[in-house]
């Protein structure tokens, strides 16, 4: 089921995929055994002439013991999933590293705009760079995003990075990622936001360090001349 | 009558009990509705200390007066219930009438308050505090209105002496009326007294 995940290009993507595979293994085991038993029971206990069903109410602990045993296994696996998942969740959504690059993301119906602080490293100054649609980032750097929306709820989604975060209007929502590979990847809106939702697409453009610097310089030049 | 057939079992609960149970379930669902609204208000209110200033525009004397009115009406409702238990028709009708009139007084005072707010430009869309104020008190007033109508219907039944076969309805209406009263007891301090 998960052999067609989009390629993973982020540092934490492997953790998320790991959880997916862990759950897949656990769930797959129950799927096979339970469906298997269902089919087996239906075939094995089909009505036959002269064979009477066994009267068994399952009201005693003795009769219930294997149910209790199986449920104990379920509880154990539940907590396994929870604990493994909690670490990954904390890594992606809770413990934000200090960013090497800070970018302000502005969403509105139906377009993305990205604001870079410019040479002084400060937002809301004259040298801020405002770039439509394409999110340029350097590879192997921690990117800190601040997500904002002007109108309705949008969702900032980078499938290859395994990042998704809804953007609430009126708030500044943080997010971060670090990419391990250069190239061009998808950026989509994952929350129904109106008529043009399907076309609210962007691009994630990952440069190497020098390429990123060059792009910054060129964009600044274009903007301020 | 559909219920009549059940007389073939002595062990089963009476129709009176069944109906009372239903009223309690109804009140339970109403509690969830007002609970959702009041809970939302409290969460907003805690995050917004600046609303204290707006609560200032609400008149505590008028609110207290209205609280008193509703409390008195609950008392007369109890009197109506007690009299109906004694099968005292005159007292029941009088108490029902007074309860309904007190309820109407409450609504009139509420209307007067609303008019005052409107004249100062405080409409439901004049900010979130006013949105909550009008929604919560409006929904409550709607319940008061429904209560008044129910009570007046009982009153007319009483005048025509049709009250006795359905005396338990006085009790059920009373339960509902007390509930509406209790809701106000929550709304009043939350809205008026948090300045």
């Amino acid at each position: 089921m998960f052999n067609n995940l989009p390629q993973n290009i982020s540092t934490y993507g492997a953790d998320i995929d790991g959880i997916l595979y862990l759950i897949y293994a656990i769930v797959g085991f129950f799927f096979v055994t339970m469906e298997g038993y269902l089919v087996y029971a239906v075939v094995r206990y089909r009505r036959r002439e002269g064979v009477r069903a066994v009267y068994q109410t399952g009201e005693t602990w003795r009769e219930m013991r294997w149910v209790v045993g199986l449920v104990a296994v379920v509880v154990f696996l539940d907590f396994l999933i929870d604990f493994r998942g909690a670490d990954t969740w904390a890594k992606v959504k809770q413990d934000f590293p200090s960013g090497d690059v800070e970018i302000l993301v502005k969403a509105k119906q139906f377009a993305w705009t990205f604001v870079y602080p410019g040479a002084d490293g400060q937002f809301d100054t004259k040298d801020d760079l405002t770039v439509p649609r394409i999110l340029h980032v350097p590879v192997h750097r921690k990117i800190r995003l601040t997500l904002t929306s002007e109108d309705v709820i949008h969702s900032f989604c980078l499938p290859e990075v395994r990042l998704k975060q809804d953007i609430l209007p009126g708030r500044r929502t943080p997010a971060w990622f670090e990419v391990t590979r250069t190239g061009t990847f998808s950026l989509v809106c994952a929350e129904l936001c109106g008529l043009g939702h399907t076309k609210m697409l962007g691009v994630l453009e990952v440069h190497d360090d020098s390429g990123y610097e060059r792009w910054l310089a060129e964009t600044a030049k274009e903007m301020f001349e | 009558m559909d219920g009549a057939a059940h007389s073939d079992s002595a062990q089963m609960p009476t129709a009176h009990f069944t109906a009372k149970l239903a009223i309690w379930w109804l009140i339970g669902s109403e509690i969830m509705i007002f609970g959702g609204l009041i809970g939302s208000f409290i969460l907003f209110r805690l995050a917004r200390p600046q609303w204290a200033e707006m609560a200032h525009h609400l008149s505590v004397p008028i609110g207290s007066f209205n609280t008193l009115i509703l409390l008195t009406s609950s008392y007369t409702m109890v009197r109506a219930f007690v009299s109906s238990g004694r099968r005292d028709r005159t007292a029941t009708c009088w108490n029902l009438l007074v309860t309904a009139l007190l309820g109407l007084t409450f609504l009139c005072v509420k209307g007067y308050e609303y008019a005052g707010k409107f004249s100062h430009g405080y409409y439901p869309n004049a900010g979130l505090f006013w949105a909550f104020y009008f929604t919560m008190t409006g929904l409550h007033a709607l319940h008061v209105l429904i209560g008044i109508i129910a009570i007046l219907i009982l009153f007319v039944f009483g005048l025509r002496d049709r009250l006795w076969p359905i005396a338990s309805r006085v009790e059920f209406t009373g339960l509902y009326w007390h509930f509406v009263d209790v809701v106000w007891i929550f709304l009043f301090p939350l809205l008026y007294l948090t300045s």
Binding site: D15, F31, A53, G85, W89, L192 | P13, G127, A131
Partner: protein, 566 residues
């Protein structure tokens, strides 16, 4: 009285303004099935657009993005609230609860009629939204504001207002219904029908009503606020006016999670009713199942934020909600294990109701297991709002509404109409549905894992979806056959109603009380005296009896397990 059970009845009193719980059940059943047609038509249009993007859908035309958003919204709303609720909650509760507990009717028959007509009104309000200026609501069935709170974002005003109105009417109707079912259940059980002798279907229907009852209130409050945002210019959910969009999500999902149980529990109840009858064995672990249902209900109120992991709420809440969510697997594991154990050493006959029941088990299991992925907050970061979710909830909703629902309909058909349906057609219907349901929704898991997002009007816009072009067309074809596969049912349902062979009172040789009444039961259900109950509901193949079942109304002693004791 006008609808005196003994006098001749005028058409209007018998079929329209009836207060007979069985007639009201049939009214709900028919209304639900008609709404299912509308729901299926919207599904067809969406699937056409997804399978054959930007071509004209036969019988309608081009599904443009604005239309697509309306279709998604209406499909979800209709299927959950106007198909699932009337079929599983209202029709079944009305028909089954009084008959199984030995009552002559609901506790409040006229309130019951009123509930139905308010429900009809809400259907009309919803369908009317297709025809008002601006069109149908387009905010998704979850209606997240600010999108749903103001015309400026969707271009839809009246549609939105009608949507909220329809939901409010529906909630009022089902609250009144719920009061009725609960009061009936608590007060009208015949002597001997103790709480632990109540048949499973009734227990689970009551569980559904409880789930609904204690969760819907806050959403009604929320809906009032949303309505005022739309019509009175308040800003409860609009940040620019100081409002808070997340409030709606909390209120919606505080209701929404119990709501999925409202639809799922009656289906489980039907299947639990059917398993013992067709395997001639007591249900395994009656008490364990009832208590598990209670535990699942309780848990369902503290899991709602699993729909909101990435909504922007405080991320510290995610792990606690992950834990409660995944813990829900425990009571449901108990129930499913008990169901499987009920088959063991049985004497199984695969009549149509049993096929649907087993089909429910086989498919719902997939829905339940895939829920574990979505309950894990970290896995949800990737899977949220993808087609994986779409596949997951269809694997829970569809089995509940249709596998569970059809199991119930076929099982009680003889009792409903006094005639037998056609077995062959029933089996054809089952296999068509079973095969093509899986053929439709199984690949959707893969498409979702591949990154296809839900609620998208045009898959050709996405580069990563190019690889799924063919698969999407195949899914659509399977979905069309799935819808066509319902034709045998419609034929069977109406043809057998008038032409089917007459059914006797107890065609399945089942032990619960409804099979004591004649088929169909007359107004008032029982003759002059009420039945009395002596044993539990599932006394099949008792070793001390020659006959292979003991009906609840037969005065015999109790053997073995406490299911038979008071």
């Amino acid at each position: 009285m006008t609808n005196d059970p003994h006098g001749p009845q005028k058409f209007i009193w018998k079929y329209i303004l009836s207060t007979d719980h069985k007639m009201i059940a049939k009214q709900y059943l028919l209304t639900g099935l008609v709404m299912a047609l509308v729901g299926a038509f919207t599904a067809y249009l969406m699937r056409w657009q997804l399978g054959y993007p930007n071509t004209n859908a036969p019988g309608w035309g081009l599904v443009t993005p604005d239309k697509f958003n309306m279709l998604v919204t209406m499909h979800g709303t209709i299927m959950v609230f106007f198909v699932g609720m009337p079929l599983l909650v209202a029709a079944l509760s009305n028909f089954v609860i009084p008959l199984q507990i030995g009552a002559r009717d609901m506790a409040f028959p006229r309130l019951n009629m009123l509930s139905y007509w308010i429900f009809v009104l809400s259907c009309v309000a919803l369908l009317a939204s297709f025809f008002v200026p601006g069109g149908a609501p387009a905010g998704g069935w979850t209606g997240y504001p600010p999108l749903s709170a103001s015309e400026q974002y969707t271009g839809v005003h009246w549609g939105m207002v009608l949507w909220i109105t329809a939901l409010a009417l529906e909630f009022a109707s089902f609250t009144m219904g719920g009061i009725n079912y609960l009061a009936t259940f608590m007060c009208l059980r015949v002597p001997g029908m103790t709480y632990f002798r109540v048949p499973m279907a009734t227990w689970f229907l009551i569980g559904a009503s409880l789930a609904f009852f204690f969760s819907v209130g806050p959403l009604i409050a929320g809906a009032v606020m949303l309505l005022l945002d739309n019509v009175a210019g308040t800003g409860f959910y609009i940040p620019a006016q100081g409002g808070e969009p997340l409030l709606w999500q909390h209120l919606f999902w505080f209701f929404g999670h119990p709501e999925v149980y409202v639809i799922f529990l009656p289906a489980v109840g039907c299947v639990l009713e059917i398993l013992p009858v067709f395997s001639r064995k007591p249900i395994f672990g009656y008490r364990a199942i009832v208590w598990s249902m209670g535990a699942a209900l309780a848990l369902s109120y503290i899991v709602w934020a699993h729909h909101m992991f990435i909504s922007g709420m405080n991320p510290r809440l995610a792990t606690p909600f992950s834990i409660t969510t995944i813990l829900i697997s425990v009571p449901f594991a108990v129930i499913i294990f008990c169901m499987l154990a009920s088959l063991r050493q049985g004497s199984i006959r695969l009549d149509t109701p049993m096929l649907w029941g087993l089909g429910f088990l086989a498919t719902f299991l997939i829905g339940g297991l895939t829920g574990i992925f979505l309950g894990s907050a970290s896995a949800d970061i990737y899977l949220h709002d993808t087609y994986f979710v779409v596949a997951h909830f269809h694997y829970t909703f569809f089995p509940s509404v249709f596998f569970g629902g059809f199991a119930g309909i076929y099982f009680w058909y003889p009792k409903l109409f006094g005639r037998r349906y056609n077995e062959t057609l029933g089996k054809i219907h089952f296999w068509m549905t079973f095969i093509f349901f899986n053929a439709t929704f199984w690949p959707i898991f893969r498409v979702g894992a591949g990154g296809m997002l839900r609620r998208i009007a045009d898959p050709t816009q996405y580069r990563i979806l190019d690889q799924f072009k063919e698969m999407n067309s195949m899914i659509s074809v399977a979905a069309f056959i799935l819808i066509l596969g319902q034709v045998p049912f419609v034929w069977n349902f109406f043809w057998s109603m008038f032409r089917g062979p007459a059914a006797d009172a107890n065609p399945w040789r089942a032990g619960t009380l409804e099979w004591l009444a004649p088929s169909p039961p007359p107004h008032g259900n029982w003759g002059p005296g009420l039945p009395t109950v002596y044993v539990g509901p599932y006394e099949y193949s008792r070793p001390d009896m020659a006959d292979d079942f003991v009906p609840q109304y037969r005065p015999v002693g109790v053997l073995g397990g406490p299911a038979g004791q008071a």
